[in-house]
């Protein structure tokens, strides 16, 4: 009998607990700047070494020729698993993650190798509600 009373009291005590659910998109989870989010490429630093293409486990990266005569990586977001191997392989640090983890595209044609991997285009800030 006493154990059942204890069970009820435990349950009632937790009525006052703060909700752990995060009401996305009004609230965001706390992602540090270190999170492996949307990948951007700084074209000024990129040396077109193609190491990122070589290490990619999902074969999601393809290089394409740009107007300036250099080749730059493009990511097939349908294949990318955000493992971050390309970022870790990049010898110059031109590829990097952004804290943007919600990645969606309007149509199939746009999410395959979008050319816009401009770091300035991503304006998502790190931080949010931490449960800890």
């Amino acid at each position: 009998m006493s154990i059942h009373v204890k069970l009820f009291l435990t349950a009632l005590k937790n009525l006052a607990e703060r909700q752990w659910t995060v009401r996305w998109p009004e609230e965001r989870r706390d992602y540090s700047p270190a999170v492996r989010g949307f990948i951007v490429n700084d074209r000024a630093v990129c040396i077109s070494c193609q190491l990122c293409e070589a290490v990619c486990p999902a074969k999601a990266i393809k290089f394409h020729l740009e107007q300036d005569g250099k080749r730059y990586p493009g990511i097939d977001w349908g294949r990318c698993i955000l493992c971050g191997y390309c970022v870790d392989a990049c010898p110059t640090g031109s590829l990097r993650h952004t804290p943007q983890v919600e990645i969606t595209w309007r149509s199939l044609s746009t999410y395959k190798f979008p050319r816009e991997m401009d770091p300035d285009a991503v304006s998502v800030e790190a931080g949010g509600r931490s449960l800890l």
Binding site: A34, V35, G84
Partner: protein
């Protein structure tokens, strides 16, 4: 009215034949549990029922078979890590452990001490998380939605910490041959300490409401009992073998990385029933928390990646190992056969690699614990009541993606 695409008669004939075969000489009926069933997971169970008693269970796994072993063939060796961890995403730090160990043997790399400790830290946090995940599913299979929600909430703390340390919530791909991918900062040490403290605090109420609940105990005690002999014969591994009194843990028997230097006791129970299997994992959560605390206390100062790799990469200059992964494209494993073995959350995970003299593998064999426990799970269900089926199912922590690979 459109016609049903498949021939109705053919389909049902197959099943009626199967039922007659299953029922051979038995009374009762065959209940098909799964694949579209709240209590089956990604598999199908043919349950032969005599009234309320289960006389036979025939599992039909393979619904989430993704061919990890086949995919691993003819594939650069470093891509195995993100590939293998998809088999068991909650347990990603542990399930990739044997792969990394085997690759290190093949490449002749030796991780520095700090990396060894960090890998073990991640493996233990991942173990806590997987046990909480399994506890959650056990809870919902017994009808206890609060146990489900609470464990899922607590395990989400681990996702948050993983995201802060490694960058990803579940598929962390943290350990790589020769070290780990990111070093941890002093703020991360505080973060993990806070995480462990909060886990312990929150698990107190969880224990009261779920494990000490008389209804839970009534549902789990004396259900699906397997003795040590049966467990040994069926090849059960991990906490599920230890629940029957089999004292076998790879972390103790063949200590890898930092486990030899850490002081911990493995949890062993005698009873061998569903409650014992749950309690072993419950005690392992606390063992893992203890190990994690030890690691945070005695974290050696060194690099986190093998110097041999660094030497090969003159570009290495920034924080972390940026650029190092590119080195894998220059180095080649020795031709041969290598193996790795680790204690994942659900038991022994074994990997065998057959390398060629290129970077591409000839073959990988991956033995996951859930697959080895499936047979025992089915044996334990026999003779129990229908309502015990989900309880035994989840007391084995059976995770179909891990078993099917």
């Amino acid at each position: 009215m459109t016609e049903w695409p498949f021939n109705q008669r053919v389909g049902s004939t197959f099943f009626i034949d199967a039922e007659e075969k299953l029922l051979e000489g038995r009374r009762g009926m065959v209940l098909v549990v799964g694949p579209q069933h709240p209590g089956s997971g990604h598999m199908r169970l043919f349950v032969v029922l005599d009234g309320d008693l289960i006389t036979e269970v025939v599992p039909d796994p393979g619904f989430v078979h993704r061919g990890v072993e086949k995919l691993a063939e003819n594939r650069p060796y470093w891509t195995l890590i993100p590939l293998v961890e998809k088999a068991s995403i909650m347990d990603s730090a542990n399930i990739t452990y044997p792969v990394v160990l085997a690759l290190e043997r093949a490449l002749g790399l030796e991780p520095p001490p700090r990396a060894k400790y960090l890998r073990v830290l991640m493996a233990e946090l991942s173990r806590v998380r997987t046990h909480l995940y399994d506890m959650a599913l056990l809870g919902i299979f017994l009808g206890h939605s609060t146990a489900f929600m609470w464990s899922f909430a607590i395990q989400d703390l681990y996702a948050e910490v993983f995201a802060k340390i490694t960058g990803a919530r579940t598929t962390i791909s943290y350990a790589v041959p020769g070290g780990v991918r990111r070093d941890i900062k002093p703020s991360h040490v505080e973060l993990v300490e806070k995480l462990l403290a909060k886990t312990e605090a929150k698990l107190r109420d969880f224990k009261t409401l779920f494990l000490d609940n008389p209804v839970t105990r009534a549902r789990l005690e004396g259900v699906g009992t397997l003795d040590a002999k049966a467990v040994a014969e069926l090849g059960v591994v991990g906490p599920f073998a230890r629940a029957s009194g089999v004292r076998y843990d790879v972390r103790k028997v063949h200590p890898y990385d930092a486990y030899g230097e850490l002081d911990f006791e493995i949890a062993v129970e005698k009873a061998g029933d569903a409650m014992a299997r749950t309690l072993v994992r419950w005690r392992e959560i606390y063992t893992s928390i203890d190990i994690a605390r030890q690691i945070l206390k005695s974290l050696p100062e060194s690099d986190v990646i093998d110097q041999a790799l660094l030497f090969k990469n003159p570009e290495y200059r920034r924080e972390g190992i940026s650029g190092v992964l590119g080195v894998y494209t220059y180095i080649y494993p020795e031709l041969g056969e290598y193996h790795g073995m680790a204690e994942a959350s659900r038991g022994l995970t074994y990997v065998q690699l057959f390398t060629t003299s290129s970077q591409r593998l000839y073959r990988m064999r991956l033995v996951t614990p859930s697959w080895r426990n499936l047979r025992a799970m089915v044996e334990a269900m026999r003779g129990q009541r229908l309502a015990d089926m989900p309880a035994v199912y989840m007391s084995f922590g059976y995770f179909p993606p891990e078993a099917d690979r």
